[in-house]
């Protein structure tokens, strides 16, 4: 497949892997005292396990799997509110597919659908907009979820609905942003991270500027990375070289997609439609300042929180995580997924206790699905 296979070339990968091995040694990292690199994005976590990259990189290099899985970090109370909206008989509730299985305190959307709620999977908020046009007697709600990768398309659907004068279309906005949780992790006194692999698709929208604080204020390297295995390996090598050379910079490996200034049209649309919430709850991480987006008053006609009288922090009582769940410790790199006492026992992808077991982009689910065994190839 063109434009994909080139970035999965095993021969080229061997060269990069050899360089990673060499630089890891030059840093002096060992299995006992490894260098810790966080891949922030769930898409990267998925790719690492899908291609078995963690098995190919040296033992002195440890991946810490970051909070960049929007489905995983969604608090249970918000899922409850989704279910509450969806169970209103006049509502058609639309959502991305992977949000269907996220457990709420009572049920997930997939269970609510079985109980009779009209819940439909869509690929874009624009599909939800089309549903609203075709069903003028129904109330169509789109579950706005995701980082800067999905916020612009939601913003665009609001602007479009406004231009068309639609009155039966709203967004239940749960959009979140990447830089605040990175800052929260860096402020954690137990923080052990030596560098970051940054999410390329987020930077396609916001550029590389919003990460400058990581290098400038915290002295840690970050490399914005693509999602193919060679992209990832090259980015890891670039982070390692920065560590070896004592540099802390924002570098852009994914320059074929990511302009340093991002996408000005998307940024402007988001500016127009959203404003930051004072604070937002992240499952496993708790409240993080200015990490969530809400719809500005100018567009409140399209805000499901207004239409269905659900205010963030108004009806919500914060949800306690299940007893024994160690998602927070895994996400900050203090423990590996399989070191959690509930891993694979009380918590499985079938019955997830904690956030990281929910989506295939969650670190625990990825461990469970792809990496459970310490495998050596059978020759």
């Amino acid at each position: 497949m063109k434009y994909a296979d080139e970035f999965r070339d095993p021969v080229a990968a061997k060269g990069v892997l050899a360089a990673i091995e060499r630089v890891t040694q030059e840093i002096g990292a060992t299995k006992e005292k490894p260098v810790h690199i966080m891949e922030v994005c769930g898409g990267h976590t998925h790719a690492i396990f899908r291609y078995g990259l963690d098995k190919l990189t040296p033992k002195g290099l440890e991946f810490i799997h970051g909070p960049g899985c929007p489905v995983c970090v969604l608090p249970m109370s918000r899922v409850d509110e989704c279910v509450q909206i969806a169970e209103d008989p006049k509502v058609i509730f639309t959502t991305f597919g992977d949000a269907m299985r996220v457990p709420g305190t009572k049920k997930s959307l997939i269970q609510a659908k079985a109980d009779g709620a009209d819940i439909r999977m869509v690929y874009s908020p624009l599909d939800a907009l089309e549903l609203a046009r075709r069903n003028p007697d129904r109330e169509v709600v789109f579950f706005g979820l995701g980082f800067e990768t999905t916020t612009p398309s939601t913003a665009l659907s609001i602007l479009q609905a406004d231009a068309d004068g639609l009155t039966n279309f709203t967004i239940f906005c749960n959009h979140i942003t990447v830089p605040p949780p990175i800052k929260a992790l860096l402020d954690d006194p137990h923080m052990i991270l030596d560098g970051f692999v940054g999410p390329g698709h987020v930077s396609m929208v916001i550029g590389t500027e919003p990460y400058q604080f990581i290098a400038r204020d915290y002295g840690k390297p970050i490399v914005v990375a693509g999602f193919e295995p060679l992209d990832l390996l090259q980015s890891v090598l670039m982070v390692l070289e920065q560590i070896r050379d004592g540099r802390a910079e924002v570098e852009n490996q994914y320059s074929r997609i990511v302009p340093n200034e991002g996408n000005p049209v998307s940024i402007a649309a988001c500016e127009k439609v959203y404003e930051p919430r004072p604070t937002f709850e992240w499952r496993g991480l708790g409240e993080i300042d200015a990490s969530g987006l809400r719809i500005r008053d100018r567009y409140k006609a399209f805000d499901a929180e207004v239409k269905f009288n659900i205010g963030y922090g108004r009806n919500t009582s914060f949800t306690e995580e299940q007893e024994g769940c160690a998602c927070g410790d895994v996400m900050t790199g203090r423990i590996k997924p399989h070191a959690c006492p509930q891993f694979g026992k009380g918590c499985t992808p079938e019955m997830p206790l904690g956030a990281l077991m929910v989506s295939s982009e969650g670190a625990c689910a990825a461990y469970y699905q792809y990496g459970g065994l310490d495998l050596e190839p059978a020759e």
């Binding site: 998925h46 291609y51 078995g52 489905v71 269907m100 990496g371």
Partner: protein, 348 residues
């Protein structure tokens, strides 16, 4: 009077109404005009009376299976629900080592379905039955109100005969046995996804839906030591391999670089965040054969229409028992687990 001796009755309505399920003339006309006059031999009784000499051979056994079909949309590139309903049951018999002979077909039809659609489905069933060399010998129709179904649901049951000495069993797979698939993976799943039209994908991947009984005969003749065959339907190749690994207590290792995949299917999976190993197939099987018979099986498969793209994808091992692993194009290893629920597309 036999149905063959008189003029067949005609359905004049355009669409199915509740009257077609009422037990009266409308129902009789529907059954005769749309179904029994198409299925050969015509003139089905409510009860089929069957015999074949093959069952009288000492050691021969009957095989019996049933399957329900609810695919949406009912018609898609490469097939329709009728073709799947015949092929699915024929294939369930065939991969068990049986020669399929007779099928039943029960239709649950939602009020409002176009009669012309039913005619196309019935013709497609007979065509598939001809290809497989089986007869549809009995059946039933029911009509349900609008909203109580989704077009047409079909249940087919099938009877076949297993020759003496044939005993395909997953638990007989041994370490060292070779895994072979007959063709490309995931076409049916990708075809259905594209045909549903939700994704605005401008590709026409045809479903792989086809009967596999002739292929199975070729395999079992050339490689009588074949341990087991599975059609990789719901849950895809991954589920079929996991079932075998679990039953036999062996590990299975497959190679990502040898998996046969259409570029379009790869593309659909890349765009939607799906894994082709879990996509459904309707004409794809995997077999395990002792290493010394692998070449014979492969050559025999490639000489049939359904097996032209047959390829060895891996082997059973003593390592990591009950676990399926895939060697990635990078030389890394990853576990190929059973699917948890439905495969849900990822956000980003």
């Amino acid at each position: 009077m036999n149905a063959m001796d008189r003029q067949p009755r005609r359905v004049v309505a355009d669409k199915v109404t509740m009257a077609h399920g009422g037990g009266g003339k409308a129902m009789r006309d529907l059954i005769e005009d749309v179904f029994t006059s198409v299925f050969r031999p015509p003139g089905m009784e409510d009860q089929a009376r069957l015999m074949t000499e093959a069952v009288t051979v000492p050691g021969a056994r009957l095989a019996f299976t049933t399957d329900g079909f609810v695919v949406s949309p009912m018609e898609f590139p490469g097939g329709d629900i009728g073709k799947i309903a015949v092929c699915g049951t024929v294939n369930d018999l065939a991969v068990g080592g049986a020669k399929p002979l007779w099928l039943s077909a029960a239709f649950i039809i939602e009020e409002g379905v176009e009669i012309s659609t039913l005619r196309r489905i019935a013709a497609s069933m007979q065509k598939a039955a001809d290809d497989a060399g089986v007869s549809i010998v009995t059946g039933d129709t029911k009509v349900v109100g609008k909203g109580s179904g989704d077009g047409v649901f079909i249940t087919t049951s099938g009877i076949g005969v297993i020759e003496p000495g044939r005993d395909l069993l997953a638990e007989t797979v041994q370490p060292g046995d070779v895994a072979i698939v007959n063709g490309v993976l995931g076409d049916h799943g990708a075809a259905i996804l594209a045909a549903r039209g939700d994704m605005a994908l401008s590709t026409e991947i045809p479903s792989d839906c086809q009967p596999l009984n002739h292929l199975m005969e070729a395999i079992l003749t050339a490689a009588p030591g074949t341990r087991v065959a599975r059609d990789a339907t719901r849950g895809g190749l991954a589920s079929a391999l996991n079932e075998i690994a679990d039953a036999a207590g062996v590990g299975i290792e497959i190679g990502e670089d040898v998996l046969p995949l259409r570029t379009e299917v790869k593309g659909v999976c890349e765009i939607l965040g799906l894994d082709p190993l879990y996509l459904a197939n309707e004409g794809t099987l995997v077999i395990f054969v002792p290493e010394e018979q692998a070449h014979a099986a492969l050559s025999a498969m490639r000489a049939t229409d359904a097996g032209r793209q047959a390829v060895i994808i891996g082997k059973a091992t003593t390592q990591h028992p009950r676990t399926v692993v895939m060697k990635t194009v990078f030389g890394g290893l990853r576990i190929v687990d059973m699917l948890v629920g439905e495969q849900l597309p990822r956000i980003c």
